[in-house]
């Protein structure tokens, strides 16, 4: 395992207190939370599940009966989109953005084959959804819009309130993939006029394998998997009670001082990079970005090389380079922001958590200075080589 973990937008360390809270629900109180009638153990489990549901509802200003547990963010996105479109029996048009997570984009693109019409709205150079373009894309037959809360690569916080208003004016339900922002930036389903919202636990020190789909009471949804009658008959399968307990505990543990700490780390690293390393660009918004994501391009060099050199020094980060992608293409998010391919290849994502320290950031900055300078000495593109 790396000594310095700066890949928290991918996944985070489970908080030991969260693990402690989950433990008895694995080892002692392991009954399934079956329903209102059952043996004592299952009734206790049911009660605990409902407590977790209520805590998660509270964190986004929703009602407990609007919270459906799933296996994670990807399933929540699939249930929201497929489940909603399945409930309609007519030709449909859906609007999303070009920078959504794959679990939204690939779900919608797969549905295009079944006749769903799709518009992918573009973003500006900082990664913000272009509101005019979004507005112009709305049609009478538009039945759903899906816009993320925070971008997973560059951390841009999308203007969901404005988008929510545009959707409300036309009575179109709005889904948000809030996996990357929940617990980090404000999420209020009422204020943002959200019909559907996807959450996951493992990005905020909760366990992997548990997520939530928020579904506003009046929104009709069809299940996309069949089985028993769990989770309001929308998501069959024995409930992941330890996961739900952990997810609730994780969001309760997110405190404003953690966000401040994370924000400080981000500003410290970006400040240091800007000051001490030439030819760098910030990808994303300087003032309206999530506190935990910093995305920087180092010109004239390629991201996988930077990532591996950092890894050799025990520092874990991510990159938008094609060499690191499963399809050998540069980050589609950066390309959608209008960045040239070479800047996407040289982009690095540093993402922070409350477990990171200022000492770690100082070490990372030192390592970066040397690595960037070494790799630039190797590059045919570097303008004036250092002696």
């Amino acid at each position: 395992m790396n000594e310095i973990y700066l890949d928290n937008a991918t996944t985070t360390q489970l908080d030991p207190w969260v693990a402690e809270e989950m433990r008895p629900w694995f080892l002692e109180e392991y009954a399934a939370p079956s329903g209102h009638f059952g043996h004592q153990a299952s009734l206790e489990a049911k009660e605990k599940l409902e407590q977790a549901r209520a805590a998660i509802a509270k964190s986004i200003n929703a009602e407990p009966e609007e919270i459906i547990f799933t296996s994670g963010g990807t399933e929540a996105n699939n249930l929201a989109i497929q489940g909603y479109l399945k409930s309609l029996k007519k030709p449909v048009h859906v609007i999303t953005t070009a920078v959504e997570h794959e679990s939204v984009l690939n779900t919608l693109r797969a549905l295009q084959k079944d006749g769903v019409e799709l518009t992918e709205v573009g973003v500006d150079q900082d990664g913000f959804v272009k509101l005019e373009e979004f507005n112009a894309a709305l049609r009478p037959e538009t039945v759903l819009c899906s816009v993320q809360l925070v971008n997973q690569e560059v951390g841009t916080i999308q203007p969901l309130e404005e988008i929510g208003r545009l959707c409300r004016e036309r009575g179109i339900p709005l889904h948000t993939d809030a996996v990357q922002g929940w617990g980090m930036v404000g999420l209020d389903v009422k204020r943002m006029n959200l019909a559907l919202a996807s959450l996951t636990a493992h990005k905020i020190h909760g366990p992997k394998g548990i997520g939530v789909l928020y579904k506003q009471k009046d929104v009709k949804l069809s299940p996309i998997m069949y089985g028993g009658y769990n989770e309001f008959e929308l998501r069959p399968g024995t409930e992941n009670l330890p996961g739900a307990v952990g997810m609730a505990r994780a969001v309760e543990m997110m405190k404003p001082e953690h966000i401040e700490h994370i924000d400080k780390l981000k500003r410290m690293l970006w400040g240091g990079i800007k000051k001490e390393i030439p030819w760098v660009h910030l990808n994303g918004s300087a003032d309206r970005g999530a506190p935990h994501i910093l995305n920087v391009t180092f010109d004239y060099i390629e991201g996988e090389s930077i990532l591996l050199r950092l890894d050799m020094q025990g520092i874990a980060v991510a990159t938008g380079s094609a060499c690191f992608s499963k399809v050998l293409e540069a980050s589609y998010v950066l390309l959608a922001m209008g960045r040239p391919h070479e800047q996407a290849h040289g982009s690095m994502r540093f993402s922070f958590s409350r477990f990171n320290t200022t000492e770690e950031i100082a070490k990372t900055l030192d390592a970066l200075k040397k690595i960037i300078s070494d790799l630039r000495k190797l590059s045919p593109l570097t303008p004036q080589k250092e002696a």
Partner: protein
């Protein structure tokens, strides 16, 4: 565990023969920063013996790009250009203890850059003349385009359904669907190999594979 051999990591950490020869006899650049890998090779060759007396490289690329370029410079230094141009990308990759399939194209790039440098040197010394692009030459180039899934040539994997060279236009039909995972990458690689040929104006790629559903 990283999918790289010890030797790849060793050459990535301590690349040999880095830089640019100031009074080089030939300099070749392959790839482009837009594609995410680019290599520049400069060589110095003894006119009488044809021995490569010096070779240096610079790279904008990933670990395997740097490592294959580094090992290749070691493999050819002190050998004649005739010997050097016989080295295949497979040999370069083997010398490194192998590369993951998805990274094999890095070895191709390194070998291509060396071959271009040697070709330039030979042209300068009147050893070869500019030849028109023949179907044979196109096929030879396409053998160096790999499917990242397998690390093997698209020609060998029978992904090349048909191709044609006429009036400066190369038309290629690939047995892949346009939404294939690596469609964009493979088409980029083909352009990289063929676009620069002196008598070629355009390279057209058609994805003619039928989707399964």
């Amino acid at each position: 565990m990283l999918p790289y051999s010890k030797k790849v990591i060793e050459h990535f950490k301590h690349p040999r023969n880095v830089g640019e020869i100031k009074d080089a006899d030939a300099v070749a650049m392959e790839g482009s920063p837009a594609c995410g890998d680019m290599l520049k090779i400069s060589i110095k060759v003894n006119e009488k013996t044809h021995v490569i007396t010096d070779i240096k490289f610079e790279s904008f690329g990933c670990a395997s790009n740097i490592a294959t370029a580094s090992i290749l410079t070691e493999m050819v230094k002190g050998r004649t250009v005739e010997e050097a141009e016989k080295i295949s990308w497979k040999q370069a990759a083997d010398e490194l203890g192998g590369l993951p399939p998805v990274k094999m194209h890095c070895a191709v790039l390194a070998v291509d850059a060396l071959k271009s440098a040697i070709e330039q040197w030979k042209e300068k010394h009147g050893l070869i003349s500019k030849e028109p692009t023949t179907p044979n030459k196109v096929l030879r180039k396409l053998r160096n385009v790999l499917n990242p899934l397998t690390g093997a040539s698209i020609v060998r994997m029978q992904l090349l359904r048909d191709f044609d060279v006429a009036d400066g236009i190369i038309t290629i039909d690939l047995d892949l669907t346009p939404d294939h995972k690596f469609a964009a990458h493979i088409s980029e690689e083909i352009h990289e190999k063929l676009d620069h040929l002196w008598d070629i104006k355009e390279v057209k790629i058609n994805f003619v594979g039928e989707s399964e559903s």
